[in-house]
């Protein structure tokens, strides 16, 4: 059973198409994250679900009912805004109960619910204050409280954590997640931060330029990105893309077209063409162990955070990869590394961890069935 069903949804402002043929099903109780770079249409999509934006064509159903033309108040969804959008002229309690009062719920019920939510979110002492007397984290909680007090058909979050500082963000991330587990309410969560999406959601939707690139569980997106865009977007630091040539009947590739950087692949691809090799920084190792393929590189810079070290390096490249620039790679290593810029190192990678993309379409090149 799907709580939110979107079929072939389009939205245009004049000639500008901001959402292109979106189809998406959100199961009841799921936590779905919409991610993508700014301007990809994720907020617009969220706002069309809320009813704040009209759709140009397609169908939008909430709990099985077509709501295309229904105003927000008839959709029974709750939303947490990036700026929290607390009513400045109302107290915290009034902010939270506003929706209930609009629906003329009995006073007793309202009081009970306020007490419940205040307890869940730890807002008990703040109920009489106005929003301007609250800290950023407190405002964020009130905004959450205003949404959950209603027990709506779905929660919509529009980058609710982006105005918080880093540590608070991590903390709230966990709280929202726990809250979702506790309430079990269908949630759609918009963020431009893929870590947020990966850590919180059951299902991640990657958007680009108004269209869906890929939908799937967080690890699926990580492991099986359908294209270069998703591969680059998911994962941090971002995947390295290196021009390469398929050789050896499609069983190996030459990084940067350089015969010295010959990497065997886990599975065969169609041979004889230029491709992009995708190497995740965390899959690269110094020295190379086990099944790893190795190639030589030169360290250009080292950034250590204590728990992690990021090493920028360049590899030699041959004539076919185009003249001029060195090919740059980032390697992520846990702990502290002793390498220095200028060091010559050997880098290893497991053949199974090498992704291959078509340089023109960006699509992942799937393994060829054995000939």
């Amino acid at each position: 059973m799907f709580q939110i069903e979107i079929e072939h949804l389009n939205k245009s402002y004049g000639h500008a198409r901001v959402l292109k043929d979106i189809s998406l099903q959100v199961p009841l109780g799921a936590f779905v994250a919409l991610v993508g770079p700014s301007g990809c249409g994720k907020s617009t999509l969220l706002r069309t679900i809320a009813g704040l934006e009209k759709i140009t064509s397609g169908t939008l159903k909430i709990a099985g009912v077509v709501v295309n033309d229904k105003p927000p108040r008839e959709r029974d969804v709750a939303m947490v805004f990036q700026s929290y959008a607390l009513y400045p002229h109302m107290t915290v309690e009034d902010n939270m109960t506003y929706a209930l009062r609009l629906r003329h719920r009995p006073k007793r019920e309202i009081a009970e619910r306020v007490a419940d939510v205040a307890e869940i979110l730890g807002l008990g002492l703040l109920l009489g204050r106005t929003p301007r007397a609250l800290s950023g984290g407190q405002r964020q909680r009130v905004a959450m409280g205003r949404a959950i007090i209603r027990d709506p058909k779905a929660f919509l979050f529009d980058e609710p954590l982006s105005n918080l500082d880093a540590s608070l963000r991590v903390k709230m991330r966990g709280e929202i997640r726990k809250l979702h587990q506790r309430l079990g309410a269908t949630s759609v969560y918009v963020t431009h931060d893929q870590i947020e999406a990966m850590t919180m959601a059951d299902m991640v939707v990657v958007l680009r330029d108004g269209a869906i690139e890929q939908v799937g569980a967080p690890l699926t997106l990580y492991q099986q990105p359908v294209n270069r865009f998703v591969a680059g977007f998911i994962g941090s630091p971002a995947m390295n893309f290196v021009p390469a040539i398929l050789v050896d009947d499609g069983n190996s590739l030459l990084l940067g077209g350089d015969a010295a950087c010959r990497l065997r692949l886990g599975q065969r691809r169609a041979p004889g063409r230029a491709v992009l090799a995708g190497l995740r920084p965390e899959h690269l190792t110094l020295g190379g162990v086990g099944k790893a393929q190795t190639f030589a590189a030169r360290v250009e810079s080292v950034e250590g955070t204590g728990s992690m070290t990021f090493i920028e390096m360049s590899i030699a490249h041959g004539a076919t990869a185009g003249a001029g620039d060195a090919v740059m790679l980032t390697l992520a290593q846990s702990g502290i590394s002793t390498v220095r810029p200028g060091d010559r190192v050997t880098v290893g990678i497991d053949p199974a961890d090498i992704y291959v993309f078509d340089p023109d379409s960006g699509l992942a090149l799937q393994a060829d069935p054995a000939p």
């Binding site: 927000p72 108040r73 969804v77 805004f81 990036q82 700026s83 959008a85 009513y87 929706a99 609009l102």
Partner: protein, 270 residues
């Protein structure tokens, strides 16, 4: 030290700016010989007040009452019609909004002195001149409305759009969101702009003069123009009348100005 120096500079600037107002009061207290004297007297030798005489003989109480009625009516129409339009023009975007703003600005181009003849002709046709003060209110409101919309629109652009969205999601209709959430937040700006419109329409002259035939219904500005006729040469009387007319407004203003200025200069939410 430096800050009080700034206060000193501010006082000097204000004094320079307000000199014409001071000059009006001083002239009102001079004798008719003194006003032509050179060098001019910055304070009359023996200040004499004919405020009471002018007030009584020019029926000023009655005139000011009429002015108040007309200004109140004009302000009411302006606020009722203008507030919603200002809100919509601040919240909605697109080509139609540009066209509407354009039209609103366009429609206030001509001075009332050139608008009044067609208005007179039209009002006469439809019989509006039977209610001359209503006619003046209707005509004046058309003059103040564009000004009000443009200023008020600026206030609404400072009320975050997300507040309206939140109200809609919370279960309000657009009407409800406007009335319960946005309007209270823009209240300050609306009040202040309303005061400015009130003051402006209180000083309206051309329409009152042309559309009101009955002397009992005339406004204070029209009474003022009595002094500017070819046969009138009572400059002291003119300044006395002006002082009488302006002083109550100035007093209200001095009392309210802190609110007015802070209301205008601090955004809706600050």
């Amino acid at each position: 030290m430096k800050r009080s120096l700034l206060t000193g500079v501010a006082v000097v600037l204000a004094a320079l700016y307000l000199f014409p107002v001071y000059w009006m009061f001083v002239t009102a207290m001079k004798t008719s010989g003194e006003i032509f004297q050179y060098p001019p007297a910055f304070w009359p030798a023996s200040p004499h007040f004919q405020f009471r005489a002018v007030f009584a003989s020019y029926n000023l109480g009655r005139y000011i009452w009429n002015s108040l009625l007309i200004a109140t009516g004009t302000t009411a129409i302006t606020i009722v019609l203008g507030t919603g339009a200002a809100y919509a023009l601040a919240y909605v975007r697109g080509f139609a909004v540009n066209v509407a703003l354009f039209a609103i600005l366009m429609l206030q181009v001509l001075p009332p002195s050139l608008m009044v003849t067609p208005i007179f002709v039209a009002f006469n046709q439809v019989g509006l001149l039977e209610w001359p003060r209503v006619a003046v209110v209707l005509a004046t409101a058309a003059k103040t409305l564009p000004f009000y919309i443009i200023l008020c629109r600026a206030t609404f652009t400072q009320v975050p759009r997300e507040l309206r969205d939140a109200a809609l999601v919370d279960g309000n209709s657009r009407v409800g969101a406007f009335l319960h959430i946005i309007l209270p937040l823009a209240r300050n700006g609306i009040l202040i702009t309303g005061v400015l419109v009130f003051l402006q329409s209180f000083g309206e002259y051309v329409y009152s003069r042309s559309l009101i035939a009955d002397k009992e219904l005339q406004t204070a500005t029209v009474g003022l123009s009595t002094f500017l006729g070819a046969d009138a040469n009572d400059w002291v009387g003119l300044m006395t009348y002006s002082s009488l007319y302006v002083t109550p407004i100035l007093l209200i203003f001095v009392v309210l100005q802190r609110r007015i200025v802070s209301g205008l200069t601090s955004g809706a939410l600050k």
